[in-house]
Amino acid sequence: MWLWYSWQSAAVVNEDGDVLDIEINDARFSVHAAKERLQLVASGQMPPEAIILAERFPEAKPIAHGSDELPEFDVPQPTAIQIEVADEAALLLAKEGVAISAADPDRRLEHLLRASEELRTLHLTMEARLIEWVGLFLPSARFETNRTQVAGKLRDVTSLSEFASLIDVDDAYEQPSDSEWKALHDWAVMVSNQGRQLDRLEHAIRLSAQSHLPSTSTLVGPLLAARLCVEAHGRSRLARLPSGTVQVLGAEKAFFSHLRSGTAPPKHGHIFMHPWISRSPRWVRGKIARMLASKISIAARIDEFEGTPMSQDDVDQVEARVEAIRKEFSKPPRR
């Protein structure tokens, strides 16, 4: 015996599809009331009509309309007006759901991270152009060691000659025209602003990662934690990935080339940017990557299932393992 219910009606049905009892609310619902009832049903709860029937038939199994289990029976139909109101309510619910989706930290983190990636690419391109541009006019200037300061210094001067004397090089033989200098100066201001903007973006990523992925952030740093989370398409998926996948996240090209044509498999993806791996000798990187990936998996699971966050002690233990691996394999393997 089943207790079938919809958002405004309920019925008790037996195995043969006979309706034993029925409660129908044919009231004119307001859109708001209909919305509340639709939400109730969607969350797995029963409307008042079904609760009345549940008291009369405690042995009937409650089941929402749309479930597979029910036998065929004459389903009580809502009135035309009720359908209209329910449709309006459904639209409101959809709008609400869309608005609420902004609460998802995975989505927010993704925008932050991708924004910082895009800005960094743009910044490096524009900075390179700026240095080439200035270098054209000031051939004696050398920017190899202080590339990042060029934009900041340029923004604070009013002419190229002033810049030349500021960095102590010969003034330009061939001066840019007024309009040319203005364009160059604008370019420098933009590059210099991008630098600050990048800092702000990364600060936001750090804060967001530390609250969304506290353990992973403690273990490998918030920026790497954020990147892994985004590349895995969300924290819950990162927590469910096997650590072998976490190890090569971001090395998809090498990985699938390995599967397809048998090239050497990648040893590390994004986790390579962690100094434990990138600052280790080549021949232990794979071993450390494998160990670290397993620890990241544990950390991500702690984050996802809200366990006690990893402490600095835990991180120290992992670092001790890294040291142990480096020590054990201190010599390159013989070929």
Partner: protein
């Protein structure tokens, strides 16, 4: 040249003009995805791009009467995997018309909030379109919006187990003799040794077990690795 093209109506609001499909714009003046608008006998039509809509591609590719692929105007239909609403908008033109003059209901379910954002905007100018944010597999959450069985059901979800999802939706929501359309994306299913052909063959076997398979429409050229299956419920 255009004058000589044969114009053939598929319904009151869908025209087949050579290889182009046009639907009467239910929201005049507005192009949903930048498609061309054009007047036929003083009525504004929107071009239904078969490269962006698998149902549109199916209408051009079917060997049977294409109007059989469309639902009855004014009926209630269920669309699983609504996406950003390109197909939905044309379906709405056909099913509901301007200010929902045909009194149709198009219940469109999708899981992604990003898609629903576009759908809710679409729904604001198109009464009769009911967007639902929900999992196409979890009927309990939104099934109450389909109080009686529908005569037409479309599914286009890109996730593993598409045929199983489709069959359970058919069992639950499609009436006897109702038409169901399944757009199957081979790349979403587990890779098989025989490739896409094997995946499609497997789908045909599973479908034929339970329902009458009316047609298997290959969409290659419009949408690679996709096929459209037309079924009738026994």
């Amino acid at each position: 040249m255009a004058k000589n093209r044969r114009i053939r109506p598929l319904s009151d609001s869908v025209l087949l003009e050579g290889r182009n499909i046009w639907t009467v714009n239910a929201n005049p003046g507005v192009a949903v995805r930048g498609e061309s608008l054009r007047k036929f006998r003083g009525v504004e039509h929107r071009r239904w791009d078969p490269n962006r809509s698998k149902l549109g591609a199916g209408l051009l590719r079917t060997r049977n009467d294409p109007s059989n692929l469309l639902p009855q105007p004014g009926s209630t239909v269920l669309y699983l995997g609504a996406g950003h609403g390109t197909t939905i908008s044309h379906l709405h033109d056909h099913l509901c018309g301007r200010s929902n003059q045909h009194r149709g209901r198009l219940v469109a379910v999708d899981l992604a909030p990003r898609c629903l954002r576009d759908l809710t905007h679409l729904a604001d100018g198109r009464p009769g379109l009911v967007p639902v944010l929900g999992d196409a597999r979890k009927f309990d959450a939104w099934g109450v919006l389909i109080p009686s069985r529908v005569d037409w059901l479309f599914q286009d979800v890109a996730q593993a187990g598409q045929v199983e999802i489709f069959l359970s939706a058919v069992r639950r929501f499609l009436s006897k003799d109702g038409i169901g359309l399944l757009s199957l994306k081979a790349a979403s299913e587990r890779h098989q040794d025989g490739g896409d052909a094997d995946i499609f063959a497997g789908a045909i076997a599973k479908l034929s077990d339970e329902v009458e398979l009316v047609e298997h429409i290959n969409l290659t050229g419009f949408e690679d690795q996709h096929a459209l299956f037309v079924i009738r419920r026994r």
